[in-house]
């Protein structure tokens, strides 16, 4: 187990280093520098600015400084708004994005597990077909397609929920549902097939044979065993919710990290794009590690080894 964790951590650090280096190389490959602009500054000013940001040093020196800064979580400054650092943006935006993402993942997990279980228990009957239809919609309708329709009908036509914005609890419902739907479908599908697998196992028959009431068999034995594979797709699910939130935050005007990210893409604010990418990448890589470790912890039957099992 320790060997496995060690291996995974080394792999994670390597991934982080690759993305940091890739980012640095890409940043340096853009022609010009942050101070090439329409406004003509005197050469002395530009030299001073470059010195201030360390751009007068050689590329290897800059690379070392850059890595040092990353290790100390200093992600640089925004070009468009020099008074703000990327860290400022992260501390403003990330809690909001994390809240939205957290609700979405939670919603996806609860709804997915519930629907998948119900479909499996009523296999071939109405709940099963209803779930299949939802799963079909979930895999085929991207969140940025679903969101405007939710806005139009639930927000504008029937006035059930606020159209956009952030701050009130009811404003979370629409964006979180739009983000969660695709994941609900995936989790429900996986949960359904996993449940169907588990109900044929001997220990379920044993549990029934010793006279446990049906709901207890389901809650204590079936779901608890069937939920294990669901854990494996939590990593990709978190990644999907996170990337989905870029556009969802834009559509619902939520002042989260995604909004800054999309704005920085539109304005070609390179340091912000790079800093945010590194932050997101580290976050996702860390989440994947946690999910992997949890998998080994939840299911003791699985011998966690560094090698690919399949």
């Amino acid at each position: 187990m320790l060997h496995f964790i060690g291996r995974r951590v080394v792999l994670m650090l390597l991934s982080l280093w690759v993305i940091a280096t890739l980012t640095f190389v890409l940043m340096k490959s853009i022609p010009g520098d942050p101070f090439t602009s329409e406004k003509k500054y005197p050469p002395q000013t530009i030299a001073n600015l470059k010195a201030q940001y360390g751009l007068d040093k050689s590329i290897p020196e800059q690379y070392v400084t850059y890595l040092k800064n990353l290790v100390t979580f200093d992600l640089g400054f925004s070009i468009n708004n020099t008074s703000r650092t990327v860290n400022d943006m992260l501390s403003d935006g990330f809690p909001i994005s994390a809240e939205l993402g957290g609700y979405s993942v939670f919603l996806a997990l609860c709804a997915g597990v519930l629907m998948g279980s119900v479909a499996a228990l009523w296999q071939g009957r109405l709940p099963d077909y209803a779930m299949m239809i939802l799963a079909v919609i979930g895999i085929s309708v991207p969140s940025f397609v679903l969101a405007p329709f939710l806005q139009k009908y639930l927000g504008l036509e029937w006035r059930l929920l606020p159209l956009a914005g952030w701050g009130k609890p009811e404003q979370i419902i629409l964006p979180a549902s739009a983000l969660a739907l695709g994941q609900v479908a995936l989790i429900a599908r996986l949960m359904r097939s996993s449940m169907l697998d588990v109900v044929t196992q001997d220990y379920i028959r044993t549990a029934r044979a010793k006279g446990l009431p049906p709901w207890r068999v389901v809650s204590r034995h079936t779901i608890r065993n069937a939920i294990i594979p669901v854990v494996t797709i939590m990593g990709p699910a978190i990644a999907a919710v996170l990337t989905g939130s870029f556009v969802i935050e834009k559509i619902f005007s939520i002042p989260g990290m995604g909004k800054y990210f999309v704005e920085s893409i539109t304005n070609r604010d390179y340091p912000v794009i790079m800093g945010t990418t590194i932050f997101y990448a580290s976050f996702l890589i860390l989440m994947n590690l946690i999910v992997d470790l949890m998998y080994g912890w939840i299911d003791p039957r699985i011998k966690v080894s560094g090698r690919e099992g399949s």
Partner: protein, 307 residues
């Protein structure tokens, strides 16, 4: 007692009759097709994909407008009618033509990305799996490290730096990390296959590495590879739409479903529903039919997997 002795006579061996095949022999692919045909959803997927390809080819010619032709004077935001089947947009461009033009872009991106992934993935994974040992270890470590990187973020980063939105940058960005899945799949399969007797037999008969690879190993992995391709196509189509939606993909005047959806977001709050509905509908349908086909193919190509 009751059984007469002649009942115990051995029945004559009819050598000729034993050699006759009672049924025509069925090849693996015929068998796959037979299984696929029985799967209703897979057939829906197959027909859907075929229709989509057909409409992407002929659709833009069915109406007398081009995808970039504007009509600012009289043709802005017209609802669907006989003249404009899917209406027009805020610049007076015909939405019907633009939707099918967008289908072209989506399909080109989907199929090209799948093809590039296929070539790189099969070569990389096949080589690693076949060689084994140190080389395999090293090559797959590279895959593992790249695997840890978030796909869409890398794609966004590369597109931002290339700073030249269009088809080719999107394809480069999508395939830079896209081949990893394929490499892992092929390598795993080759590792298993190369220990089997038919490979040993071929080696004993003096087959070259190349022949072994392309005549014996790869054809045996074709099933899973095809399934993987069928799922790569919708993934790439989704990614293109997502990137175009963010403004990193196909730019006006070219039509992409992602751009069209993004352009009509404000409009949904008014009543010009057709500008959002048609690209959104066909994007969803495309993802749907490819997923149906992929599920069906997976069941048909690998009956062991079926529940």
């Amino acid at each position: 007692m009751g059984i007469p002795a002649q009942r115990f006579e051995p029945s004559p061996k009819r050598q000729a009759a034993m050699e006759v095949l009672s049924r025509p022999s069925v090849t693996y692919w015929q068998d796959v097709w037979r299984r696929l045909r029985k799967n209703r959803l897979a057939i829906v997927g197959l027909i859907g994909v075929a229709l989509l390809i057909l409409m992407a080819i002929i659709g833009p010619y069915l109406q007398d407008y081009s995808y970039y032709e504007q009509n600012l004077a009289t043709g802005k935001n017209l609802p669907p009618s006989g003249e404009h089947l899917f209406g027009t947009d805020d610049l007076g461009r015909d939405v019907f033509v633009r939707v099918w033009y967008g289908a072209r872009i989506s399909l080109i991106v989907g199929f090209s990305a799948a093809l590039i992934d296929l070539v790189i993935g099969v070569l990389w994974g096949g080589f690693a799996g076949f060689k084994g040992g140190r080389i395999d270890e090293f090559m797959m470590r590279i895959v593992d490290v790249l695997w840890g990187l978030p796909y869409l973020l890398i794609v966004i980063l590369i597109l931002v730096v290339m700073n030249d939105p269009g088809l080719i940058p999107i394809l480069i960005a999508l395939t830079i990390t896209g081949w990893l899945n394929m490499a892992r799949l092929v390598r795993g399969q080759i590792l298993q296959l190369k220990e089997q007797e038919f490979v040993l037999a071929a080696q004993t008969l003096g087959a070259s590495t190349r022949r072994l690879m392309f005549k014996h190993l790869i054809p045996n992995v074709m099933g899973p590879i095809i399934v993987m391709i069928t799922f790569t196509v919708p993934t790439a189509i989704f990614a293109e739409a997502f990137l175009s939606f963010l403004g990193l993909g196909i730019q006006a005047p070219f039509a992409s479903w992602g751009t069209m959806i993004s352009d009509s977001l404000i409009v949904i709050l008014m009543d010009d529903w057709w500008r959002l509905f048609f690209p959104a509908f066909f994007l969803s349908m495309t993802l749907l039919v490819f997923n149906f086909l992929g599920d069906g193919l997976r069941d048909a190509l690998d009956p062991k997997m079926r529940k």
